[in-house]
């Protein structure tokens, strides 16, 4: 696969504040990559550096293998979809989409044809002469996309493009975006703090925090094998249980770990930890099973008491007191059942437990 975009050692500070502390990224042809992180993690600045709006203090942006640092935005082969669209309010739909073509002084006929083509692509035929403020939020979003497609960029940059839409619309725009991206085979970079959006559309996710890449990988990697506590907590929810290694059992391939819940068996490589090492055991709330006596026979079972049961429709969210810990437990709602109450048993499946070292 060709590398379309490569970032090498990108650093940026605003005044005394370091925003990006050395970013190295390689994005392949046709890939949908996402920068995800909390606000202030530097993801938008990184995107603006790629677009050419911000100059990095050090490091190089390579587009198609060429150093693009000195190329201004208007000459760069990237197209940005801004938050809220940044559609020109004084121009019609057609003139918004045509803006880049007109700047290039394309003949009128070709501009009109291209605009019609782009409007068809985003399913907005017939809105050419509409004023921008007469469009719905979703329609504005599509116009912004069409405008970004107009110059056939090598890389499409999306800066939280759906943050102003309501939840349902966001979902359908997300699907449409993914469809269009696949169809055009367009290398795309999305910036978002929304994990659902990132997980559902991306080929690869870069989790950013405090100006550094915390983890990169497929949505499955990120969710199921978080590289550290930050990623684990930012993507989904996770229970963290502090514990101490007691022994390694070679036949089952499991460590025996003493925790506040009692002894737990957790899989791991035999040479990762020595007995007595301080560790953290992570377990996602939805991986824990909750039930009555029937769970007792399973491995890693602990007794607990339901503190709160929150019925949210699609699932029931429990806070369960077990030993000295409070565990979050999410259970898909099977329907017609009543939430558990009082004393319960929790099963922590072997395959769902993650083990990490801890400085005690």
């Amino acid at each position: 696969m060709n590398s379309v975009l490569r970032l090498e050692g990108i650093r940026k500070r605003f005044g005394a504040v370091p925003v990006l502390a050395g970013i190295d990224i390689d994005v392949r042809e046709g890939e949908f990559a996402t920068f995800m992180g909390p606000s202030g993690c530097g993801k938008t600045t990184l995107l603006r550096i790629i677009g050419g709006f911000v100059t990095p203090d050090s490091g190089v942006v390579y587009l198609d293998g060429r150093n693009a640092n000195a190329i201004p935005p208007f000459a760069r082969d990237t197209a940005m979809v801004f938050q809220n669209g940044a559609l020109f309010p004084h121009l019609s739909v057609a003139e918004n989409i045509a803006f880049g073509l007109r700047v290039r002084r394309l003949p009128d006929r070709r501009v009109r044809d291209r605009v019609r083509e782009l409007l068809a692509l985003v399913q907005l035929e017939g809105t050419e002469d509409r004023a921008i403020d007469r469009l719905s939020g979703g329609q504005q979003q599509r116009v912004a996309l069409a405008r970004a497609f107009s110059l056939e960029p090598r890389v499409l940059l999306l800066d939280e493009p759906h943050s102003s839409l309501d939840a349902n619309l966001r979902l359908s725009m997300r699907e449409e975006l993914r469809r269009l991206q696949r169809r055009l085979g367009l290398t795309t970079i999305l910036v978002t703090h929304d994990q659902h959006e990132a997980m559902s559309v991306s080929d690869r996710i870069f989790v950013l925090n405090e100006g550094r890449i915390q983890q990169e990988g497929s949505p499955i990697d990120i969710y199921e094998s978080p590289a550290n506590a930050f990623v684990a907590q930012f993507v989904g929810a996770m229970n963290f249980l502090p514990g101490t290694i007691r022994a390694f059992d070679a036949t089952s391939g499991c460590y025996r770990i003493e925790t506040a819940l009692g002894p737990l068996a957790v899989r791991g490589a035999s040479d990762a930890f020595a007995p007595g090492a301080a560790v953290t055991v992570g377990v996602r709330p939805e991986a824990i099973r909750i039930g009555g006596e029937e769970l007792r026979s399973e491995p890693n079972t602990v007794a607990g008491r339901v503190e709160i049961a929150m019925y949210t429709g699609a699932r029931i969210e429990y806070a369960v007191l077990a030993g000295a810990e409070r565990l979050a437990v999410f259970v898909a709602n099977p329907g017609r059942g009543r939430p558990h109450d009082g004393a319960v048993w929790l099963a922590l499946p072997l395959e769902a437990l993650v083990l990490a070292g801890r400085t005690s």
């Binding site: 709006f53 100059t55 208007f74 760069r76 990237t78 801004f82 110059l151």
Partner: protein
């Protein structure tokens, strides 16, 4: 609250509507009380009077055109230009705010008058600053702060992502400016231009000082009323002065009302200075540099004029211009009047705002309209109206300070009123409901919740009213009585008599007072913040 609104309405009718109606009516009434167009015919038949109409329009157009360009250049430099230059440029552009706006009328005479410093240095025989060049230049410098503030707000309100998007789509900076920035700013620019136009037409002092043998509407009206004592004929230029103001006012409040592409709370995305093309950058900075140098030079000359016997002619240092009993008395009177104006208009404006906004009064539109009318009307017209309305019973007020306070209060009331209204609209009514829910009565809720949140609005309203009152000349000059002269009027009269040293000294003293006042307010404001935070 209804009765309060009724009182406000009655006062506005008596002190804004009635004087104006009187002025306008006078021009259509013959001595025997019958309707006539004779006064208008007489005015239009006189070449000198006719010229004053043409000259005022030309002046308005020239000043507006120049100021729109210069104001945009400053605003552009202040929002997108080199970071290091922004603070000094803004400081110089806003400097004229602390002085009477006709300070340039005085300093330009010292620089470019018949015995002016520049005139002599260059050995100019035929050219002086009197006439078109002087009037236009003095107006451009006088009204620069207004233009810069308004246009800078427009540029700041522009979503910078729009300009980024244009660049991203292949537009170079000059095309971004032409295709995106300027079209988006057009409604805001038009608003600023209209305001400058109405200020220029209504300006009395600069054309009066520098106009030489050119006649302009406002000085002309003053001359007819005070010189010829011809109220009926004087009504005609007043009507002609009201006309453009009314037109501008109506355009502002109907046609342009919703025409804005910029938002007030536009994100300040200014972390990276924009790469302005070098030529444009040089052009803009050169223009700003020249204008800034002119402002500084004029202020310096005023200070110089205050401490020399006769600047340009006898440059020996002296303090005698400051040792002037009349000037000191005028300054004290000004301070007294301006403090009263500041207090009354701030309390009345904000109180009225509360009644109108929270009481959802039906007459809100009318009351705001009357207050804004008082603000938009040329001071000369308002002054003549007061002269006609309050020179005789039932309300004989012309012989005292009260009328000076009143005319200025009703001239500036719209500013604290609008500041108060726009602030109140931002304060959610549930705050008061929450206070009431917690057991606070209406007065306690106002004092403990609303008042602290409105503090900035009070302060800004007071500063504006006080400043305006200190420097306004066009209305008070018609209403002063012997022995009760205001510093602003005194400065103008001294300058008009050619006593430039005295005019400069009182101007410098006035600027000193204003700066001292600001310092005191700053300290007070700091104390207030600490107090409320502690409470």
């Amino acid at each position: 609250m209804g009765s309060l609104a009724a009182v406000a309405f009655a006062l506005l009718v008596v002190f804004v509507a009635a004087p104006i109606v009187l002025v306008l009516a006078k021009g259509f009434l013959a001595a025997d009380g019958t309707l006539t167009l004779a006064h208008y015919r007489r005015f239009l038949d006189s070449p000198r009077h006719l010229a004053s109409i043409r000259n005022s329009l030309l002046l308005g157009l020239a000043t507006t055109l120049l100021l729109t360009i210069i104001g945009f250049a400053f605003a552009f430099a202040l929002t997108r230009g080199p970071r290091r230059l922004r603070t000094p440029l803004r400081g110089i552009a806003l400097l004229p705010l602390i002085a009477p706006h006709y300070i340039f009328g005085i300093s330009l005479i010292i620089l470019g008058g018949r015995q002016g410093i520049v005139t002599q240095a260059l050995g100019l025989e035929s050219w002086t600053v009197y006439g078109w060049s002087g009037v236009i230049l003095s107006q451009v410098l006088s009204f620069l702060p207004i233009a810069v503030i308004m246009i800078e707000n427009v540029l700041r309100g522009l979503d910078s992502h729009l300009e980024d998007a244009a660049r991203d789509l292949g537009a170079r900076e000059i095309e971004v400016l032409r295709r995106v920035t300027l079209p988006l700013c057009a409604p805001g620019l038009l608003k600023a231009a209209l305001l400058v136009f109405s200020l220029s037409i209504a300006d009395f002092a600069n054309p009066a000082l520098l106009g030489a043998n050119l006649s302009f509407l406002a000085p002309n009206a003053y001359q007819i009323i005070m010189g010829e004592m011809n109220m009926a004929l004087g009504s005609v230029p007043c009507a002609l002065l009201v006309l453009p103001c009314a037109a501008v006012f109506l355009i502002h409040h109907s046609w342009l009302k919703d025409k804005s592409f910029t938002t007030v709370g536009g994100r300040p995305v200014g972390t990276e200075p924009r790469p302005i093309p070098p030529l444009l950058n040089a052009l803009i900075l050169a223009l700003c540099g020249v204008v800034a140098a002119l402002i500084v030079a004029n202020f310096a000359v005023t200070a110089f004029g205050a401490v020399t016997v006769l600047a340009g002619v006898d440059n020996s240092l002296t303090l005698r211009h400051f040792l002037n009993r009349e000037g000191v008395a005028a300054l004290l009177t000004s301070l007294k009047v301006s403090l009263l104006v500041g207090l009354i208009s701030t309390v009345a404006g904000n109180g009225l705002a509360y009644v109108l906004v929270r009481g959802r009064m039906i007459g809100r539109g009318t009351i705001e309209f009357l207050a804004l009318a008082g603000f938009a009307l040329p001071g000369t017209v308002l002054g003549i109206g007061y002269l006609m309305a309050f020179n005789a019973p039932p309300l004989p007020l012309t012989n005292g300070l009260a009328i000076l306070v009143l005319v200025t209060v009703f001239h500036v009331l719209a500013v604290p009123l609008e500041l108060g209204c726009s602030r109140l609209v931002q304060i959610a009514p549930d705050l008061e409901e929450a206070a009431a829910d917690l057991g606070a009565g209406a007065w306690v809720a106002y004092r403990r919740i609303i008042l602290p949140l409105m503090a900035a609005s009070f302060l800004n309203g007071f500063v504006y009213a006080f400043l305006y009152s200190m420097v306004s000349v066009s209305a008070p000059i018609l209403l002063i009585s012997p022995g009760r002269i205001l510093a602003s009027v005194y400065i103008f009269q001294m300058a008009d008599l050619g006593l430039l040293g005295t005019a400069c000294a009182v101007t410098v003293a006035m600027i000193g007072c204003v700066l001292l006042g600001f310092g005191a307010l700053h300290v007070l404001d700091g104390a207030r913040r600490r107090l409320w935070r502690g409470a």
